[in-house]
Amino acid sequence: MTHVAATGASAAPYRDPERQSFLRRRAVRNRTVASVSMVVFLVVLAVAVTSSPGWPAVQKSFFDPTAFRESMPDIWSAFWLNVRMFLVAEPLILVLGLLIALARGLRAPMWAPLRVLAAVWTDVFRGIPTLLLILLFGFGIPALRIKGLTNEPVVWGTVALVVSYSAYVAEVYRAGIDSVHPGQRAAARSLGLSDGQTSRFVVLPQAVRNVVPPLLNDFISLQKDTALVSVLGPIEALRAAQIYASDTFNYTSYVAAAVLFISLTIPMARYTDWLLARQRRRKAAGGSW
């Protein structure tokens, strides 16, 4: 986007050629300065790191191409477990979190128990370290030896993640619901919509749109937290990396695992950016100004 477009220029009928060329020159100069300063910064950083006395040892321990190649196949296949846990947990969290947020917003007196339960759920499960929840579900529930209940650690680890993240996500939803102007609800009611219809057709659509970015933020965090389930025994990517590292005394495998996690989170972050940009465009097109 050129500077001219950025300032809007609001389709001016007449453009001063002198000013146009000034703006062009300034844009070129800005880009040049930005590029040079970026390059200088990176070079200084690279020189500072690689010329340090311990760099060869660090390079060998963390960035060894051979170790990277050797460890990647095992980490790659273990990473599939992270992806599966994530794919199962995410929809469950979205639904459960929404239900909890809605339960907290119930106004009728007869729903008091649900309201309290929802509040307790978020307070308790948000406060407990996720690791403890995973240990509690993964080691505790199988130890009860209840007939017919699976003792598969991956299942209970995923359940613990769902419980923990549903508490966070419920609060995100609640913030979204609160962000909808009270006038919207009042207007809907005055049009004759019931309380439930107001929520369903007026409040929630706006609320959810407002909280998509923080929700995706939570899911990026969830992707990495699937690694916590490894304390129960299953071998996921980070554990596979640790196995390689402790076998060879070389940390490069962790870098390999990080590459996989990043390759999942960066597309997601760009998707969030794109959603936000689209939202902004639509609001603008809606003629709100």
């Binding site: 040892a57 554990r239 402790s246």
Partner: protein, 291 residues
């Protein structure tokens, strides 16, 4: 690395002493050769050693430090196999008990690049060729077979061969040669479960998530005798000399390795090492060797 335990067969400890003596005589001169013509008593005088803290021998181990390698999670009490070995080595190197300082070194940080905060680390660490690329090891002070532990009620309690364990759900601690053993030798049909420490493996064994766990033999004895009621050591496996010997861990290029090796050789030839082994790792239990 291998973790927690009790008795080991007399044969195993005898083998470790013999192996140790053999290795010591082979490698002591070569590893010390770079700094001095021979590792003489003078070259290893406590006052001339390059230490992390001058005048003090700083020894690392993980926390918690498990029995029977350490007792009461207190390395300074001299109790437990590895604490006793560490103090014996220190004494042979010319350090009094007061001149030995312990520091906590989590296993995962023991091989970090850069300056070490310990002179040597003793933490049931197996000597392997791959690891030697990152750190230096002393000659072995112990040789230990792997063993299978299960509940008496398990259908694998009467396994008599490695093949009998193929369909078992197995678990081990991360970073141990036990895990490598499961994958390479037993090659189970279901992927092994891996835990941060033996505590996780023990929980999964007692709550029925796992059929059996693989640990080193002293640890297996310790768990079955003191920690999990109704558990038994099904069998042990033949010693793999490339994975089942434990050594002191040093930073790469440490000048102390030769002197520590010399101390270990003296402990082996004087019979002190065998005595320490017999004292802390009881030798009266017979366990069948699974083939």
């Amino acid at each position: 690395m291998l973790r927690p335990a009790r008795s080991v067969s007399a044969l195993a400890s005898l083998a470790s002493v013999l192996l140790l003596a053999a290795c010591a005589t082979e490698s002591t001169p070569s590893s010390a050769g770079s700094s001095s013509p021979a590792t003489s008593a003078d070259a290893c005088a406590a006052s001339t050693l390059r230490l992390v803290t001058p005048g003090t021998l700083t020894i690392g181990t993980d926390k918690p430090a498990y029995p029977p390698y350490f007792v009461d999670d207190t390395p300074t009490n001299g109790k437990g196999f590895e604490s006793a070995v560490a103090y014996a080595v220190a004494a042979r190197m010319g350090f009094t008990k007061d001149q030995v300082k312990w520091t906590v070194v989590p296993f995962d940080s023991s091989y970090a690049p850069g300056e070490k905060k310990f002179d040597f680390d003793i933490n049931q660490i197996s000597i392997t060729d791959k690891r030697k690329a990152a750190v230096d090891f002393s000659t072995p002070y112990f040789t230990v077979p792997q063993a299978v532990l299960t509940l008496n009620t398990s259908k694998f309690a009467n396994a008599t061969s490695i093949a009998d364990l193929k369909d078992a759900k197995l678990g081990a601690q991360v970073g141990t040669t036990s895990l490598a053993f499961i994958n390479n030798t037993i090659a189970p049909t279901q992927q092994a479960q891996v835990f941060n420490d033996t505590a996780g493996a023990k929980s999964s064994l007692s709550n029925g998530t796992l059929d059996a766990i693989v640990v080193d033999l002293p640890t297996a004895f310790y768990i079955s005798a003191a920690e999990i009621d109704g558990s038994k050591v099904v069998g042990q496996f033949a010693v793999d000399p490339s994975a089942d010997t434990w050594g002191l861990l040093f930073g790469k290029g440490s000048t102390l390795v030769g002197c520590a090796n010399q101390a270990l050789a003296q402990l082996a030839s004087s019979g002190d090492l065998a005595k320490i082994t017999a004292q802390w790792l009881s030798t009266d239990v017979k366990v069948p060797v699974l083939q």
